[in-house]
């Protein structure tokens, strides 16, 4: 799980969600890509972040894209974040005895604009949180930073500042993550995506 390096964090705010990740792809100590996507849009209002083995991150993103498209054809509606989280959990548990080496984070707004975030272990155990979810090689760093900085009912711009500070300061204490960061803020009005200016090491 430490081969490629990652730092992913999602936070709940007042009627909004933030999800952010670093951009490094490494092979142990060698940095191979500085623009590697780990957070993907599933629908316009649901995002998933995946940390862990990069090949599994890519494979699972494609798997989820297929399953969500099939869902849309069958149900004739867009998938809700909670439903998608359960879908992810199912896909991971299918591989219970030969698992994907990933830790997913799901974040989104449901059809009533209620924020939803959850994390999962590599075999799909859902961790429902009221505040924030963290994963990756910088997991412990992120736990401390989020626990210290998060407070309930932050507005979108305040939430952006909070998640950015948590992410930037955490990856600076982790050798395997960093080299740039991206944050998505999901509000009922739409999604704002910002690249963070960070240390490139």
């Amino acid at each position: 799980m430490e081969y490629n390096g990652a730092a992913i964090v999602a936070m709940k705010g007042k009627n909004c969600i933030a999800i952010g990740a670093d951009k490094r792809l490494g092979q142990r100590q060698l940095t191979v890509d500085t623009n590697f996507k780990k957070v993907f849009p599933i629908t316009e209002r649901t995002y998933i972040g995946l940390s862990g083995l990069a090949t599994d991150v890519k494979t699972l993103h494609d798997q989820f894209r297929m399953r969500v498209n099939l869902y849309k054809h069958r149900e004739e509606r867009v998938i809700e974040p909670k439903t998608f989280a359960n879908l992810v959990s199912h896909v991971l548990y299918e591989r219970r005895f030969g698992s994907y080496l990933v830790n997913p984070v799901v974040a989104g707004l449901d059809k009533n604009d209620i924020p939803f975030i959850c994390g999962m272990d590599s075999i799909g155990c859902i961790d429902l949180a009221d505040n924030f979810i963290v994963c990756g090689t910088a997991e412990e760093n992120l736990y401390g930073a989020c626990e210290g900085l998060w407070e309930p009912d932050l507005e979108p711009e305040e939430l952006f500042e909070t998640i950015s500070q948590a992410l930037l300061n955490s990856v600076d204490r982790d050798a395997m993550s960093g080299w740039g960061a991206v944050v998505h803020i999901i509000t009922p009005a739409g999604v704002i995506t910002r690249d963070l200016k960070s240390r490139m090491d």
Binding site: N141, G144, A145, E147, G148, L149, Q165, L168, N169, R173
Partner: protein, 239 residues
């Protein structure tokens, strides 16, 4: 048909006679858990620690064993790791402080103490004190100083640092709140005031207690300035 062509017999390496395996396993160290942190201010410095001591597993040895200590020359030490080594190192360091005092008829200053601790730790380079320490004091001019060490004595002057089981959780938070890393439009050279530093230490430990099982029970803070050492004790979650 020759089966030999279709089924290749794997090369049988000669196997050595099995040796008797003994599993005595004496490991001389134990991680007693817990966290310490140090913050440096303009005219003061502080060390803080929780008071929980664990046995390396799920058992609690004590809820009230602080990891911060006052030394007779006016410096304060915080140390996380193997508590038995902490006590031994502390005793030896205190002896050095007293020997200096009796020889030179004055107390060792903070910088000299820092160097002494480094030598003391390196003297056991090949059977180390399994401790991670911070040393805080004030220099001759009354400015706060803080030093952070690894188990074999490598040290440097810092403005903030934490060691121990929740150090990974606290260091990014301290970098952001003390050194104001990644903050724009602020004075990065400004050090925190006494009240700010104490409040941050308390906030840091309440956060650490939430997520780290080895940190909790009580928090003890020692604030040192040119007037002496102030002790502050706060309760933390006991779960």
């Amino acid at each position: 048909m020759e089966y030999g062509l279709m089924h290749q017999e794997p090369n049988q390496h000669p196997v050595a006679a099995p040796r008797e395996v003994h599993n005595h396993g004496f490991y001389p160290y134990v991680d007693n858990g817990g966290t310490v942190l140090g913050i440096c201010g303009k005219d003061f410095a502080l060390v803080a620690s929780d008071t929980r001591q664990s046995n390396g597993g799920y058992l609690i040895n004590s809820r009230d064993t602080p990891k911060t200590f006052k030394l007779s020359n006016g410096t304060v030490l915080g140390s996380a790791g193997f508590h038995a080594d902490t006590m031994q190192c502390l005793e030896t360091l205190e002896q050095r402080a007293q020997l200096y005092f009796h020889k030179h008829e004055r107390q060792m200053n903070a910088k000299a103490m820092a160097q002494t601790l480094s030598h003391l730790l390196y003297s056991k380079r090949f059977f180390p004190y399994m401790i991670n320490t911070v040393l805080a004091g004030v220099d001759a001019k009354g400015n706060g100083v803080l030093y952070s060490y690894d188990p074999v004595g490598s040290f440097g002057e810092v403005t903030q640092y934490s060691h121990g089981s929740a150090s990974a959780l606290l260091n990014p938070f301290l970098d952001n709140q003390i050194a104001r890393a990644h903050q724009t439009g602020v004075d990065h050279s400004a050090l925190p005031s006494r009240e700010q530093a104490i409040k941050l230490a308390i906030d840091a430990f309440t956060s650490a207690t939430e997520r780290d099982i080895y940190t909790g029970d009580w928090l003890e803070i020692l604030v040192v300035d040119s007037d002496g050492v102030q002790e502050i004790k706060r309760e933390l979650k006991h779960d």
